[in-house]
Symmetry: C2
Subunit: 188 residues, 2 copies
């Protein structure tokens, strides 16, 4: 095989590489950066889906509105943050259901980019087995699919499996210290 | 003044608080998280502008395409990364011009959200005086305007001035180590 052929092959293989991306840490910007990637992918006419594993009090109003306009599939699951939920079993059941939805969509090759928003929590709280999830992804994720997983407490095995991991670290946060409320259009 | 009145006043004041947000650090997601906030703001029909201080080889294709569709003002300035530029003076001149454009738009109250993408570099390289920039912003930024500044090497004084600062820290990066190219729709 000539060098040219080799390079060509490598380039092709590289082009098709769908990344597994994890945005974790205690700072802002985990979901927000995923939304930024969604915006780029949308600018390039990619097929995009979002599965939101935890339901927020403020309901992610800004991004859901935007996703509607952009005709992006946005699936909300979960019934509130685990630490405020009155019914852990239901939260867990919904997270498991969210993973089923994710599996169907991944296996059917519906998307070029799929965001599993706050998917680290079902793993962290062991509602889903991290090793099983990774084994399933290794066997079933289409090679070209970009998968973005957000949330605190990303399990070590997930970080091992991922291609790109960023920790968002809080340097300065106004909301508690300075009595500033979370701002519409910025935080949600 | 009654408690109700006080609370009402506080709520009003809080509502109008335009944040100064800095996304810095050596990891991915600084511009990307700014784009995510842009998406939220767009979902809420806010008036949005972006001034891009450095021109990229890959031209930020995905996000510029998206901004066009979203009818968001996107101003590109700069003539390439400083570390590859053949002409530092021109790079500096363009960054200064970008700051003039930013000042006009901030002073005229054109926007609810203005992103100064990679604005930390002109400050870091001292093409612009950080103290003067901050003094100008303190005197001229409309109280309701959200201002997002991205880039590595955010000067300490800027971090002091900002309301919300996040450091994006690289935990794992595929591109150099694993021979994976930057992916369209994800990185640009």
């Amino acid at each position: 095989m000539s060098t040219t052929q080799f390079n060509e092959t490598t380039r092709q293989a590289r082009k098709k590489k769908g990344l597994v991306i994890v945005n974790t840490g205690n700072g802002k910007g985990k979901t927000t950066a995923a939304l930024g990637m969604m915006l780029r992918a949308w600018g390039r006419d990619m097929r995009i889906g979002v599965i939101q594993f935890l339901k927020h009090k403020k309901a992610r109003f800004g991004e859901i509105k935007a996703a509607e306009r952009m005709e992006i599939d946005w699936i909300s699951t979960g019934n509130g943050f685990t630490w405020t939920s009155q019914d852990i079993d239901e939260t867990e059941a919904r997270a498991r259901h969210g993973w089923q939805l994710a599996q169907e969509r991944i296996a059917h090759g519906n998307y070029d980019l799929l965001i599993l928003d706050e998917f680290t929590y079902p793993l962290h709280f062991k509602w889903l087995d991290t090793q099983q999830v990774i084994a399933w992804l290794k066997a079933n994720k289409p090679p070209g699919l970009h998968l973005i997983i957000t949330g605190r407490y990303a399990p070590e095995a997930l970080i091992e499996y991922a291609d790109l991991v960023t920790e968002m670290r809080e340097v300065k946060h106004p909301y508690e210290e300075q009595g500033i409320k979370a701002q519409p259009g910025i935080e949600f």
